[in-house]
């Protein structure tokens, strides 16, 4: 560097030496301190607050869209649920229950009656005595039995045996089960038959109890007088 160059350098440094303002100094120094106090962290694409905002927006949009649709479909769903409940088979958890249910279903198909288990037995029993009911109430069973050969009519026992012979063993057992069931419904005439049977078997107490039950169930019904006579004679 020549002397002239040194003179120029010297002259240059003698000139005004402007610098940054105090405010600028403070801003930069504050930034440097903040950078040290808060270590630089790499912000990933999923950092920040936008996922929360996006989630809230999604929930609002879904609510706005889905709530009216669900409200429209609610009555239809209720109807569908009702229909489903009606057509739904009973809940069977165990294997024995399942087998029993299958057997009942098979029986229903065989008998051609979709009614419940107690239903068919009751109907069959009523059918069994339907002809018997046509006979005037005043006529006794015994007189009927005695009259039968004269009139050419088949006797009650014969008719019953005939009918029972046409019934399968399965159906018969079902009838018996229904007969012994506590909820079996008897007509007054059926009751009289049952009482007559008990008298014939010599079980007078049971017969009397059945008469009391009959009177209680059908207070206005006039019990066959011959049946009562038969009961009285049994006492003697």
């Amino acid at each position: 560097m020549s002397t002239d160059d040194e003179q120029i350098s010297s002259l240059y440094h003698q000139a005004d030496q402007p610098g940054p303002s105090k405010m600028l100094d403070d801003a930069i120094l504050t930034a440097s301190q903040d950078a040290v106090n808060k270590p630089a962290t790499t912000r990933g694409p999923f950092s920040g607050s936008w996922p929360a905002a996006a989630s809230i927006a999604a929930v609002i949009v879904i609510t706005i869209i889905l709530v009216p649709i669900l409200k429209q479909e609610e009555p239809q769903q209720e109807l569908m649920q009702t229909a489903r409940d009606e057509s739904k088979p009973p809940e069977l958890t165990g294997e024995p229950e399942l087998n029993a249910y299958r057997a009942t279903e098979t029986k229903k198909k065989t008998m051609g009656t979709p009614a419940p288990a107690s239903g068919p037995a009751m109907l069959l029993e009523e059918d069994l005595f339907v002809d018997d009911l046509a006979v005037p109430a005043a006529s006794s069973i015994s007189s009927r039995a005695a009259r039968a050969p004269a009139t050419g009519e088949t006797s009650f026992t014969e008719k019953k045996e005939h009918l029972e012979s046409g019934i399968s063993a399965t159906e018969r057992s079902s009838m018996q089960a229904a007969d012994s069931a506590p909820f079996a419904i008897h007509t007054p005439e059926m009751w009289e038959v049952k009482i007559s049977r008990l008298i014939e078997q010599g079980d007078v107490k049971a017969a009397k109890a059945e008469i009391e039950k009959l009177n209680k169930q059908y207070p206005k019904y006039q019990i066959n007088r011959s049946l009562l006579e038969k009961l009285d004679s049994s006492y003697e």
Partner: protein
Amino acid sequence: MDDEISDENLMMNYCSGDADAFEVLYQRHKGPLYRFILRQCRQEFVEELFQDIWLKVINSRMSYQVIATFKTWLYHIARNRIIDHYRRQNLRPVDNDSDALSSISGDQHIQPENQLETNNQHELLILAVANLPRDQKEAFLLKEEAGLGVEEIAITTGVTYETAKSRLRYAFKNLRQQLEIIHEH
């Protein structure tokens, strides 16, 4: 005591979380860096550029490695920021004191009639510096303000040693010629 610690060590200390180390660095270099920008850019952009350069230093603390001197690194950042500023503004490097320089003729010579207005030699020299070609002005400022040697100027500006030396020589020659003309008149 602060003068005993090198710039590089101060920067390393700042990288380790010592904010005071940065303050020492800042106090050492704020004036020269400010003037380095001031002599090359319009006054209205100087503070913005100055702040950007220091923020760049702050944000680069985690990746700072002592490959060159801190000064070389700092002025390399400053130079790039100034070039970027020119590109963004779609401007060519202009002289900061354009009003004063408007009185200077375009053939890079100070007109004698302005001598009365610029009696102070220092001001004349500043005007002469502002009137230098950009590369020469940059080399001159790196030498006089940053205190860099020819080799460091070459590294900072990304040119060969010879180029840097040549730019510096032409810069002084130009300044001398301008000042001689003033003195002749």
